[in-house]
Subunit: 135 residues, 2 copies
DNA sequence: TCTTAATAATACTATTTTAGTATTATTAAA
DNA sequence: TTTAATAATACTAAAATAGTATTATTAAGA
């Protein structure tokens, strides 16, 4: 069971690569593909999604490419996880349509997980692209 | 993105139900299905797996059913998650066969996640079937 | 010993998610 | 107007998830 999906992972790598460029240059997908060895078409779709979500700007045409919109310190790992994996749900009740006998008396499992999830979020929220660039 | 899969969730419910029975009785699948409203065939397979893994004993034949082998305090949520979802991997590197450029200099993302994962494990490990029975 | 009420084992299936690929359109600089 | 870039959309293969179906086995009890 993976905590971080492949798209999120690729997005992190690409964003770190972009953030490392001096003075927020426009970067081409080909460049990232070559340096980070990521699958081209797939990375393209990931960057397109990041652009739609406001993380990146895309410039078509010759001399085009992608560039960072937000500062590296403003892009959290959890933002990317939410973008590509959906909101992380620690306390999901899986008895969807049916009547969960625990709902009435308050599900103890969910209560415990909610507390743990809150602390986990606090820690994960501190991980940003900027905090990952030092390595 | 769900943290706990459906099988794990069903297993938790079934085990709590069994643990609530006075004096570790043999419980039939039908009984659990009726009381907890879980899908019969699927629950059967879940209980069989729990039996193979040593959580439950199964008794065939008339008067048969499943019974707890371990004490409710000895069955951790993380044991069940591992059984049904595989070991939770917070720090997976997704560049499988390829060369991750970060491996050399030590991947900062993995380092950070490793620390968070350790604390998460410590907390999750305290959740047992017994601790979930009070509700 | 035969019936019956239970689980065991195995194989199958449908849906969703994951991880891509392929194709065609659009854009803007030179 | 050519060319080098991304955009958009549709398609596909594989794996995981969430089951269902079928047949075998077992042991109690009449």
């Amino acid at each position: 069971m993976n905590f971080i999906s492949r798209d999120t992972d690729y997005a992190v790598r690409a964003l770190i690569y972009m953030a490392r460029q001096p003075k927020a240059e426009v970067v081409t997908v080909d460049d990232i593909v070559k340096k980070e060895r990521l699958p081209e078409r797939f990375l393209r779709r990931i960057l397109q999604k990041l652009a739609r979500k406001g993380f990146l700007a895309s410039n078509k045409g010759k001399g085009g490419g992608f560039s960072l919109v937000r500062s590296p310190g403003g892009i959290r790992l959890t933002d990317l996880m939410e973008t590509f994996q959906g909101k992380m749900n620690l306390t999901n009740c899986l008895l969807k349509g049916r009547i969960c006998p625990n709902v009435m008396r308050g599900c103890l499992l969910r209560k415990k997980l909610r507390a743990i999830g809150k602390e986990l979020d606090n820690k994960l929220n501190k991980i940003t692209i900027a905090s990952l660039m030092k390595g």
